[in-house]
Amino acid sequence: MIVSRREEHLPGKLIAVEGLDGSGKSTQIHLVHQWLRSKGYRVFFTEWNSSSLVREATKKGKKRQLLTPTTFSLIHATDFADRYERQMLPLLRAGYIVLCDRYIFTSFARDATRGCDQTWLREMYGFARIPDITFFFRLPLEVALGRILEGRPQLKYFEAGMDLGLSPDITESFRVFQGRVLDQYLKMADEYGFTVMDATLSVHEQQKRVRSAIQERIDLALYHKRFFQ
């Protein structure tokens, strides 16, 4: 049955990272994962758009450009629900620290940019717990664009927001789209209490700050494998 109250007390902790492509968030959460694992904490890592069953449909939809803003949003919500109910929620109930590379805010930012109604999006994801900590890796738009456009010039259709008809030029479309997504993120930062990280700092410096923020806000000793709740 579908029962998962957002307010329910769960022994586990949820940590999410959000940010534009190129903001370095995946590197940071990877390093957090390594750190917690090496210290012997109960930790689990999951990423956006990765449930095996839903992935096939998403891939097909993207390749054939079959997706509208609505179905694009729904298919990602389906993927999220699958991972949430199968992995994240049970692990949170069992007292794990769950690390998420992108969370529902990715959908709020991208899908709202595509024209989906904010209320509709928030109600759809209403079953998902708000993370204990959401790190937002903030980078000036031009820097984020530079990192992506330098390193990986093969932009994908939906990633560049080509479905919005912003520009026939894929690079230009990507620029405009990412700018709008960034605006959406910034609008959410207060509402959801994002911990905003300066993503222009060195990777190592950022990681030090991320780790100390986690230590400040989570009593890690409770999550050690030796400690039974």
Binding site: M1, L53, W120
Partner: protein, 233 residues
């Protein structure tokens, strides 16, 4: 012509003022006679010069294979399945129903959001959550719910298939291990959900225990009324 109404906002990119067609929904359980009567209505409407598009909750291009696979293995959580079905619905809405309404067709829909919502709610989904998901659906001009007694349903199901369907028997809902009693319980729950929704959404409940010609005549009379009401606007 007045703009097509939606339960809340239309999906992004859909202009309600451009939808000049008429959406008519036939709801009811499997073996209630939906497809037979839609076929009869279609020929009759075409004879009168209406262009008709037939749509249904069949499988869309987008998630067809994956949905089928998931159902075979029964490996998705109820909420995931809900969202999968919602994806499927909106894919069809945007690719079939909306274009047909834009072209001014009479759209006969074999089931609609109500079946999807009833199935989800019976499986424990919060009604408000489900309503919100489907709130971008166009409001039909009429919804005819073919109400069938359990006895008729069982008789017709066995005549047609000689066996009960796993999902139509609600075997995933933990109502019991006996298929026959699970089928009856599940169908009763779905029917109760429709009765609840009837108040909110204003369905026409039609007695579908009757013979095909009797029900056909009744439905044609009702559809005729809908079309003259629409034309007077």
């Amino acid at each position: 012509m007045s703009p097509q109404r939606f339960y809340k906002l239309p999906p992004p990119g859909v202009d309600p003022a451009k939808l000049s067609g008429t959406l008519i929904v036939i709801e009811g359980p499997d073996s209630s006679g939906r497809s037979t009567h839609i076929g009869l209505l279609r020929s009759w409407l075409e004879e009168q010069g209406y262009a008709v598009a037939q749509v249904g909750l069949k499988r869309s291009n987008l998630v067809a294979a994956e949905l089928e696979k998931a159902k075979q293995g029964n490996i998705l959580s109820p909420r995931t399945l809900s969202l999968f079905y919602a994806t499927d619905f909106y894919d069809q809405l945007e690719n079939q129903i909306v274009p047909a309404l834009r072209a001014g067709f009479v759209v006969l829909s074999d089931r609609y959001i109500y079946t999807l919502m009833a199935r989800d709610i019976v499986r424990g989904a919060e009604p408000g959550w489900v309503e919100s998901i489907y709130s971008m659906a166009p409001v039909p001009e009429a919804v005819f719910y073919l109400m069938v007694s359990s006895k008729t349903l069982v008789d017709r199901t066995f005549q047609a298939h000689a066996e009960l369907d796993y999902w139509e028997s609600g075997m995933d809902c933990g109502l019991g291990r006996d298929w026959f009693s699970s089928f009856l319980k599940y169908q009763r729950k779905i029917r109760q959900e429709f009765v609840t929704m009837q108040k909110a959404y204003g369905f026409d409940v039609v007695n579908a225990n009757r013979t095909i010609p009797a029900l056909d005549a009744d439905l044609k009379g009702r559809v005729q009324q809908v079309l003259s009401r629409v034309e007077k606007r």
